[in-house]
């Protein structure tokens, strides 16, 4: 009788131990699954972020280079306005053609209504109100975005 009771108690203890181990393993599985889900979500976010940053990096690099090249073009155009030289004219023309082929276009400003998105007012002067009277430095757009606003003089309304 005693032996039977002992065996029953042993079986109960073993059963409890197995049950407890099972619960512990289940908790561990739940925890690992949760970590896996988080890791996968982080991975997807990082993937999207890397794609976006590569695109932004390309855009910033191109924009920075264009800005520097436009400063060179400004000086060539100033030289062209003072020197009547066929070779210089051809070189400046070629420079502008290359920019245009890459989608870099000058902003039309002379005679236009002043627009702070595309223009930067340097001075107000004689002329029709809010109309660009003179472009001091040309502005440029790249793929529809303003790379450099045009620096302009704007009329103050005294005819």
């Amino acid at each position: 009788m005693k032996k039977r009771d002992d065996k029953k108690n042993q079986d109960k203890t073993a059963g409890k131990k197995v049950g407890s181990e099972k619960q512990s393993l289940q908790r561990e599985i739940d925890s690992l699954q949760s970590q896996l889900r988080c890791a996968l979500a982080d991975y997807r976010n990082i993937e999207a972020r890397i794609e976006k940053e590569v695109s932004l990096f390309k855009k910033d690099t191109v924009r920075s280079l264009i800005d520097k090249l436009l400063a060179v073009l400004d000086n060539l155009e100033r030289a062209e306005s003072h020197i009547d030289n066929k070779g210089l004219k051809m070189a400046v023309g070629q420079f502008k053609d290359v920019l245009a082929s890459e989608g870099i276009m000058p902003i039309k400003s002379d005679g236009e209504v002043f627009d702070p998105i595309k223009m930067d007012c340097m001075q107000i002067t004689q002329g029709p109100k809010d109309i660009v009277v003179e472009t001091v430095t040309k502005g440029y757009e790249y793929c529809g975005e303003v790379i450099r606003p045009a620096k302009v003089r704007v009329g103050q309304g005294n005819e």
Partner: protein, 234 residues
């Protein structure tokens, strides 16, 4: 949980950044620049570079250097000095505080600053691709309670929960990792667009204490530009 943005709300220019993998990253504006001019045209709803580009054409409606009026009374010496140098109208508002009047409407400095903070928030959201609701904003070490409270209000008007208002020289010291120093005194020189500030801080066990501040609140990069213009005109 979204990212917390850090905003330097400056007198002449403002800047917004986040921490990524423990490193600060300045967020570019939609105009492609790292700085937001602290300039607002409240009638046309222009902020930053767009407001700055038309300020020559529209001086009475374009508000700049609003930080000089933040949390100050209309009778303050700094406000009186500012009134002499700005083309827009500065008026006495509620409780004798300095406000601006544009096109017949009165705006508090908090409302004007909120427009700059809204742009910082919008640019950060466009860059991060997620909503931004929390921010830390820096102020000069010499700002009093009224000025700090006004800055916090500006953040709240802009839709930001301002987690902390911290001192600019402290933020600069943290950026250089100087919080690792023990029991040292540090001098921080801050030459901005409109002001020149010096702060002496004492660092001990990660705690920063402002020991002294001084400087010239009407000296900055803009004044250097003006001198160059005058020299060239001569």
């Amino acid at each position: 949980m979204g990212k917390i943005i850090g905003i330097d709300l400056g007198t002449t220019n403002s800047c917004v950044a986040i921490l990524e993998s423990g490193k600060p990253k300045v967020i570019p504006t939609t105009e492609g620049r790292n700085l937001i001019p602290s300039v607002v045209e409240p009638v046309k709803g222009l902020v930053g570079d767009l407001a700055k580009r038309q300020m020559v054409l529209n001086p009475k409606n374009t508000v700049y250097s609003i930080k000089r009026l933040m949390g100050r009374r209309f009778d303050d010496a700094e406000v009186k000095k500012t009134i002499k140098m700005v083309p827009y109208k500065v008026v006495k508002g509620k409780d004798g505080m300095a406000c601006v009047e544009v096109d017949g409407k009165i705006y508090t400095p908090q409302e004007i600053s909120a427009k700059i903070l809204q742009k910082a928030k919008a640019d950060a959201e466009a860059f991060l691709g997620e909503k931004v609701t929390e921010a830390v904003i820096t102020v000069p070490a010499y700002f009093d309670d009224s000025q700090r409270q006004a800055t916090k209000q500006a953040g709240e008007i802009a839709g930001l929960e301002v987690k902390r208002i911290i001192n600019e020289p402290t933020a600069a010291s943290l950026a250089y990792g100087l919080d690792k120093k023990k029991n040292e005194k540090i001098a921080v020189y801050d030459l901005g667009g409109g002001t020149f500030d010096i702060s002496v801080l004492e660092i001990g066990e990660g705690v920063f204490e402002v020991k002294a501040t001084n400087g010239d609140t009407f000296l900055g990069g803009d004044d250097f530009d003006q001198k160059i213009v005058e020299c060239l005109l001569e």
